[in-house]
Amino acid sequence: MRNLHHVNEQDASGGKKRSFVFATILILVFCLYGLGLGWKDFIPSENGYQLFKKFAAASLTPALDYQSTGIPEDAPPYYHKVLKSLWLTLQYATCAMCIALVLGISLGFFCTKSWWSHARHSSLVRYFLIIMYRVARTIITFGRSIHELLWALLFITALGTSPFAAIMALAIPYSCTLAKVFSEIIDEQDRRTSHCLAAHGAPPVSSWLFGMIPSAIPDLISYALYRYECAIRSAAILGFVGITTVGYHIETAFADGYYNEIWTLLYSLLAMLIIIEKLSSYIRHKINTPSEPKKLLETSNNREDTIKQLRKQSSTKISLYVIVTLLGILAFTSWNTGEPIFSDLGSEQRAANLDRFLNQEITPYPVRLSGNWADAVPWAKELLITKGLDATLKTFYIATAAIIIAFLSGLISIPYGAKSLNSTHYFGVTLGLSKTRAIIRKMISLLTKTILLVTRSMPEFLLAYLLLQILGSTAWPLIVGLALHNYGIIGRLGGEILDNSDPSNAKIIIAHGGNTNQLYLFTLLPSVFNRLILYFFYRWETCIRDATVMGMLGISSLGFLIDDASARDNRDEMFFYILLGACLVMIGDIVSDIIRSRFRAA
């Protein structure tokens, strides 16, 4: 009876997973239908095909010098230009991260209730704390809901192009994201130690700081490093709104047809991102594995000497100090080279620009004429009905289709990206592969890992831009670009989850003669599926956010309307669509939060 019950339970949960996968496929079809896309739109036109051939051929010979013949004699060498654009990308990302860390930590502090005292607060203090909490939450929700490219667009229109605009455009949404995730990480920590310190009479902030933060620090650092990587990607694509980072040079090189130059830029951007990723995984590893203390060399009768000895053996992480120092130097140089960042902010020209932007340009057109805010309502209604709703829906379809494609293809790649499934032994149990099969498996795994690394390192916007040139103006390039980047992330993360999951059940499958595919499908995948679904919704949220700007490449969705209004100098309309996008992102966030908390509870 008990066994039967067990089987039924398994069946039910298996059925849930199955229906989740089927549901995603159905929704995918629905989204594609909504976008009016068919599979045949996926085939590039003759022109696109020719372009693709040329572009792909150029990949083997990245440019080492200017491709243009009309370069003046005294122009700086080509590598100079490449390095400069890379440095600018890194510089903006670094400065933005510095600001985002300070703001993110301070905002994050108010976004968690974990440091509030449980006992005997006066109601006035409690009231004040709740207000601070609500205000901080509202700020981070709003700041995050506008994509960095749109912040850049706003800053550039309000102040003019400047390093400050670029840095603030990154810093604002990044501080909000850091604040949100930091507070979530802290909320997930075990509170027992903190309670124990409170039982020792610690003040509330002390028991929070010493009881909860230390165990959160590894996660906080690895998330900050991940965001730094993202900041470099974001800085690169700021080029598409006119800031001279890598993206700018890629766009101009494409317009001029200098494909070899594009590859030079792509390769160097990729190299920079991969170096940063490897560096951060090295730091993560160092932090997470405490070094085994060495044996005591000599014992001494003198207490002070003994303590000195003990201290010496324990401090072995010199490499960490080196990296931290390097990052410090990088931050210092970023703030102190090139165009001064805050230089002409105070200039009258900029002040006038800002004043005009805030007080005139973004005020809805009819309100500017009549001075009556009631006139804004029919104006907004008109925009919403004629284009807004349709574009919002399309943006939603693009994001959803992309994440589903990324998830489904990720499921297939995960076993090949996991370390534990691609050697001759699974956690010490021999798989009995023949030599050739072992080698083939290794090769497939290496290929998968490389593809995952490249796709997750490339900014989704850049991928979409390149695909657009080849596939032509449909929504496909946007979907595929977004899907590729997320596929890279999900594939890698899934692999990590598999490597860290409990191998005991899986070992039984091998003992019963199963192969690695069965191992993955019948034990590992079912046991980690819930976590993958959590991740699916988390990335879906991000996809919606990214999809709001994708249209800026010229495909009808919110981004297109924003870009179009900006080109026509209709700032009020532009601002309206940006806010519409922000609403979509906020709704997505809320829905995803609700669904995720359901799945977490399950």
Binding site: A119, R120, R192, T193, H195, C196, L197, A198, A199, H200, G201, A202, P203, V205, S206, S207, L209, F210, G211, P214, S215, I217, P218, P290, E292, P293, L296, R303, E304, T306, I307, L310, R311, Q313, S314, S315
Partner: protein, 253 residues
Amino acid sequence: MAKLFQLKNITKRFGSITAIDCVNIDIEQGEIIALIGSSGSGKTTLLKLLNAQHEADAGEILLLQKPISSFNHKQLRQTRSKIAFIPQDLGIVKNLKVFQNIFLGKVGLTSTLSMLWKFLFPPKSEILKVHKLLERTGIADKLYSITSTLSGGEQQRVAVTRALYQEAHTILADEPISSVDPARARSLIKLLIEISRENNLTLIMSIHNIELAKEFFPRLIGLKNGRVQFDGSSVNQAELDDLYQLSEEQLTQ
């Protein structure tokens, strides 16, 4: 001699459950006491009432003749900072160094900022003190180790050292031996009792293992359904059988 703790008709409820039901206990400074009883008999709640982690619903707890319930926030913290509490999971921060965990013993007497300063730039005199205490508990060579690299038994000793460093008058220990093997359990109890005697500390420990309780503790308090079943220096088998006899309903809970 003045009583350290006096519990007068203490009752504590959680919703519809009465965890502690009209308990009267007197405790003197330097007493070594074992709390015994089955799971859910109220041992943990009683310990938490003693350093005011819970407030009693009825009755009064006097600490050195003063009622705990009358303390303001500051007095409460001062009171707690003189009582060491060792929870079942030890309440130590695993990824801090051992000396930092021990510094946390004084967290109640130190402001957040000066604690942070002490963490990052530990003063030599304090390190010397900690090293001396660690020598007493037998893990002096772990002074600078990350606590998570220590074995379970060594981590318990970190918690004991923290209590010593705290210079408390009382140690409250909530089943600290439930997760270790018998040999380690015995040596930890011995250590705690020795240290308490050396420093004239009051030790109140909840414990599941009756044999160990009878062997080491001069005073045993038996709790059942939140009531004191017996309180004295010895206990006979009939009383013990009664203490652990559960109703059918309790067994299936």
